[in-house]
């Protein structure tokens, strides 16, 4: 009874996710927090366990059999991830980091440090996650760069009217492909072309988009793209910075240490080629193995089908929420459609998001309350916190129904 979707057999998919067998407070678990972190399918957990128990060794320097296999698995993961993004040169364009946040800090510190100076402009949008704000603010404080902000339309889409003006003279547009609060999907291909026309590069924060929408860095003409493993059915502890080969090749190192050098003397070091240059120290090896398996899992279902399913679910949910709390419920985001992802940021007039989430928890519904690391957006919306439900391929209409029922309870309790 899980699905409205003709697209996915949600009941079958759920069997791949052991955590969904868990009960919470005596209720079936409705996991509606994939925007914060997704659940890993058994295949991903198994791939890492198998790696640890049959292969584990440090990569790159060993010549013995398991070290060679570990190295191969790690480098294969780079190719698997690169292909998933449509990258032309996966082995030179994918740097593994610990999460999206490190990827963006790497970009700001390395590319920004080398290419931006006093008065140079980086354009952000008001819907960015802190991960795509704070690193640029740090750079602004260190180097005097200027940050410009793209605003939103009344329907909470990106306001493209101000785009050309904002890009005028800018060096970089750094923008999310999908808002983790609004679900708004930005037209990254168009934005890339606009940025390039203005002589700027584009970095896309793909933390929310890569797990849920087809991504093609070449077709969309992206210069840089960052995202996290743990939001795309993969493990914690790994993220990705994609960069066009020639751009990464020209960037100075970020973290210093083993694996990122060609030579070290007491008075100087010589950095290795990209992407190794950006992978100082022992990399997240098991995590790369897990991430590659997550990509294979997504491929086996089909990202297009996942997207179609989540869009159907979003429409169903928006309809279902319409009747709740007598008009005292708001979902902050555009209507369901091709530019709308499966993220529902809910506020009730009389119940604080934190209380909403607490009450939902008591009936097994997992949503996240708070500012979702997007405080400038919250200020724009004039709310302090929302209760956010976000979908994954394992969600069905039963989860939405449980959400709606829990929300009714919250309004009753606080009524």
């Amino acid at each position: 009874m899980a699905t409205v979707s003709g697209t996915l057999d949600v009941n079958a998919i759920r069997r791949d996710f052991p955590l969904l067998e868990r009960q919470s407070h005596g209720h079936r678990l409705s996991y509606l927090d994939s925007g914060a972190s997704s659940l890993p399918p058994h295949a991903v957990v198994e791939a890492m366990a198998t790696y640890y128990e049959t292969t584990h060794a440090n990569v790159h320097r060993g010549v013995y059999e398991t070290a060679e296999e570990a190295t191969r698995l790690y480098e294969d993961a780079r190719r698997t991830v690169g292909r998933f993004l449509g990258a032309s040169h996966p082995t030179r364009e994918i740097a593994f980091t610990k999460n999206t946040t490190e990827a963006i800090n790497l970009l700001a510190h390395s590319w920004g440090g080398a290419n931006l100076g006093e008065g140079d402009v980086v354009v952000l949008s008001i819907m960015e996650h802190h991960a795509n704000i704070v690193p640029w603010q740090m750079l602004a404080a260190a180097k005097g760069i200027e940050l410009r902000w793209l605003g939103l339309t009344d329907e909470l889409r990106l306001d493209l009217d101000g785009l050309d003006e904002a890009l005028d003279g800018a060096k970089l547009l750094s923008i999310t492909a999908m808002s983790n609060v609004l679900g708004t999907i930005n037209p990254i291909g168009d934005l890339a072309r606009a940025a390039h026309d203005a002589g700027a590069l584009i970095h896309v924060d793909g933390a929310q988009a890569v797990p849920h929408l087809p991504t093609d860095v070449v077709a969309s003409e992206l210069d840089f793209l960052s995202f996290s493993g743990h939001k795309m059915l993969g493990p914690t502890g790994i993220g990705v910075l994609y960069g066009k080969a020639e751009l990464l090749a020209a960037m100075p190192p970020f973290l210093g240490g083993g694996g990122m050098i060609l030579d070290v003397r007491t008075d100087r070091f010589t950095a290795a080629e990209a992407p190794q240059r950006f992978e100082a120290g022992t990399p997240p090896i098991a995590e790369a193995v897990g991430l590659a398996e997550a990509v294979r899992y997504i491929d086996s279902i089909g990202i297009t089908s996942i997207r179609a399913h989540e869009l159907e679910l979003t429409s169903y949910a928006l309809d279902a929420l319409d009747g709740v709390a007598n008009g005292h419920l708001t979902v902050h985001g555009p209507p369901a459609g091709p530019d709308r992802g499966g993220v529902l940021s809910i506020t009730l007039d009389d119940v604080h998001a934190h209380d909403v989430a607490q009450i939902l928890d008591s009936v097994g519904v997992c949503v996240r309350p708070g500012h979702h690391c997007a405080k400038p957006l919250m200020r724009h919306l004039g709310v302090q916190a929302t209760a956010r439900a976000s979908f994954g391929l394992y969600n069905g209409t039963d989860d939405v129904d449980a959400l709606v029922e829990g929300l009714e309870q919250a309004t009753t309790l606080f009524g």
Binding site: V351, H352, A353, H354, D355, Q358, K375, Q384, L413
Partner: protein
């Protein structure tokens, strides 16, 4: 659900719906302190007057969940008109109540002191919070901000 009802006692909901001492003292003499709960975005602004060692007036503004708001409201009612010594005492007692369980999330293994709930009066209603470790930070936000306000003024 029993836990949930203990969390959302009627007195909590009442202080949430009708917060006491709501507002802001804007005169020069008022002491001010702002607090954030970075985890959930709750914000609080406390302004207060101290006259001859007595916390003579206190106003609370800001936004937050029922727990942080009602806790701050209950706090304002409990400390207003009290001597600074008494205020410190009330803060300490309340924090001990919260720490009973917060201890699990903090350092050390020291056995927490038992709190005499009768001493707490209405504040005892917040006791249900300790079963929800993630909410303890909501309940303590106002209290930490008040402490900071007094500390900043070296009171």
């Amino acid at each position: 659900m029993a836990d949930l009802e203990e969390l959302y006692r009627e007195i909590i909901l009442d202080h949430y719906r009708s917060p006491r001492n709501r507002g802001e003292l804007t005169d020069e003499a008022a002491l001010r302190a702002e607090g954030f709960n970075p985890l959930c975005g709750d914000e609080i602004l406390i302004t207060l007057h101290v006259d001859h060692g007595v916390l003579s007036d206190i106003k609370i503004s800001g936004q937050g969940c029922s727990i942080s708001q009602s806790s701050a409201s209950l706090m304002s009612a409990a400390v207003k008109g009290k001597s600074l010594d008494e205020v410190r005492q009330i803060i300490a007692t309340f924090k001990t109540l919260m720490t009973v369980h917060e201890a699990q999330l903090e350092d050390g293994d020291a056995e927490p002191e038992a709190v005499d709930l009768r001493k707490l009066g209405e504040l005892a209603a917040l006791q249900g919070v300790v079963k929800f470790p993630m909410r303890i930070k909501c309940a303590t936000l106002g209290w930490n901000t008040l402490t900071q306000c007094l500390d900043d003024a070296s009171l």
